[in-house]
Symmetry: C2
Subunit: 373 residues, 2 copies
Amino acid sequence: MKFEVLFRSKKSRARVGRIHTPHGIIETPAFVPVGTNGALKALDSVAVSNLETQIMFCNTYHLMIQPGEDIIEKAGGLHKFMNRTGPIITDSGGFQVFSLLYGGVAQELKSKGTKKRDSGVVKITEEGVTFRSYRDGRKIEMTAETSIGAQKKIGADLIVAFDELPPYHLSPENLKKSFERTHRWEKRSLDAHKADPRNQAMYAVIHGGMDRQLRKKSCQILGDQDFDGFGIGGSVGKDCPEMLQLLTDIMPFVPDDRPNHLLGIADLPALAGAIPLGVDTFDSAHPTKCARHGMALTKFGGLRILKSGNEILMQPIEIGCECYTCQNYTVAYINHLFKAHEMSAYTLMTIHNLHYMNRLMKKYRQDILDGLI
Amino acid sequence: MKFEVLFRSKKSRARVGRIHTPHGIIETPAFVPVGTNGALKALDSVAVSNLETQIMFCNTYHLMIQPGEDIIEKAGGLHKFMNRTGPIITDSGGFQVFSLLYGGVAQELKSKGTKKRDSGVVKITEEGVTFRSYRDGRKIEMTAETSIGAQKKIGADLIVAFDELPPYHLSPENLKKSFERTHRWEKRSLDAHKADPRNQAMYAVIHGGMDRQLRKKSCQILGDQDFDGFGIGGSVGKDCPEMLQLLTDIMPFVPDDRPNHLLGIADLPALAGAIPLGVDTFDSAHPTKCARHGMALTKFGGLRILKSGNEILMQPIEIGCECYTCQNYTVAYINHLFKAHEMSAYTLMTIHNLHYMNRLMKKYRQDILDGLI
């Protein structure tokens, strides 16, 4: 992997760059859609590539459980298995352990850190995490070494160090404990990666929760090691303003010779706020999930496909949009497909929203070059 | 509409023909996939056309209930609404009334003609049928005139006369009663159509159940009227051999100057048996439903995608197949998509099965021309 910064804004920390991977170049800032199971929901891999999706995010945890990393390796790696010729990034599985414990980010924030009763997580030790497969109940032990081992077999271009995701609501002592353990796990992940690099690149994950001092320390600890890039992980705040304040405070300490990635966040206000702070890539299931829930993203704002009146709106989702959906179908028809529970509704909406996101990021890159950001 | 017979087999009643419609030519024998709601399940209209689907079958009853024929008319007709440039046929709604009463063909055969208790059908009179919408419970009256009125607004190339579908298990007296009423309804349908032809063509539906004499009489009554083609409807037997025997007995009486269509049946043995008997077109949801249930149709036989062993089968569904699915994905990957409940599994399987059916019909046409059938 090679990272070039092509242009740095004079107005902000925003930058335009290029990440070179074995499967192609990622122009940054870039949006990274999430294809958890080695597939974007409602859209096949070739269609995703045709939408000029530069890189896809897949989840190691899910792929380990189904179909299993051994089958993917037998297929010649995830690219061949899912027929994606462009770059792929896999996460470490750490986030899914958090989800098992707390039921996801929104739920953790709501519950103020109360763990789910029947979480599936058996125990967390210095070694790693033991949990039960949501499919067949079998015990799975996930450690830095098994996570990286699986990510080797899966064979994404970019892989992520195994970390623990401490919740937003955590006492300072417990945050400190998690912080130290996570950095030991990340070091072990890097060692496992270096022992068998396979032309992959490894991102560290910067931790420290809302504690600025810990975040800075994390940047320093991880920056001193031979990671190829940096994820910004863990809880970054209970809402967008809190997150942007945290990023404002910590982005100057994230090593800027390597690319960085904001993990799991890419809604529109987050992008608008974080790009000027120097974030390079963003993954999120949000735009594609919105699509399946009937919310189209357009340059005129969100369009609720089921909104009253839309059953007779004989125009595309976004007038002037060049996506396949807007070139071929009206709001009225897609509204009908939703009401008739036709699966193609999800596909057509996903195509539009993904096209929108890729177009939006292109515009962000141009705006930085044009001195507007 | 114009119908040409290009070639008649010397070995059988099989024929190769061309149905000219305002939206293009249908080469017969042809398979007609079913897009009940103005959409094939799991595939958008342009994708369906790209698979060289010559004609699609949509259901008037479903379209009347959602989105309603008035919205479709406002969109400029069903072709514009769903963005299909090729031919479309709509049925009359009569079959759905039967489904409401008996729960479908298989269920009626099993129940030996016992009506469903809570059928949604309020009453059947000389005028027509009153039933309750499955969506909002409102009463809908369907008559020859309202069915044709709706089919005018929907604007398919081929429309079908309103008929009653008597069940397999029916006393001779009741079959006779239904037979007479159905022919009165069909006559009224033709009158309504002729009063406002709109460049559409109307098919009659030949009835008479398993009674050969009634079937022949139906051919004569309807053949004497100015219908553009003939559907073969009602119960045609409890299994494939019974159906083929019935078709053997009645096909010589179906007017052969106009095209005919076997309603609702297009499984592989039915096609193989009915094409030599002179059937021109066949509609069925079977091949696309098979796809969504994980059964791929191939020249080597059916392939159950979830069959044990297929999780590591790194080859296309059908080696040598030129469909998008086989060109891009392996059985192992599609097996994984099914297990991971990814919608794209249904799309990819549907593409393959539809491609298979269209290729199969092409082969049937060639085989007739080559004197093999």
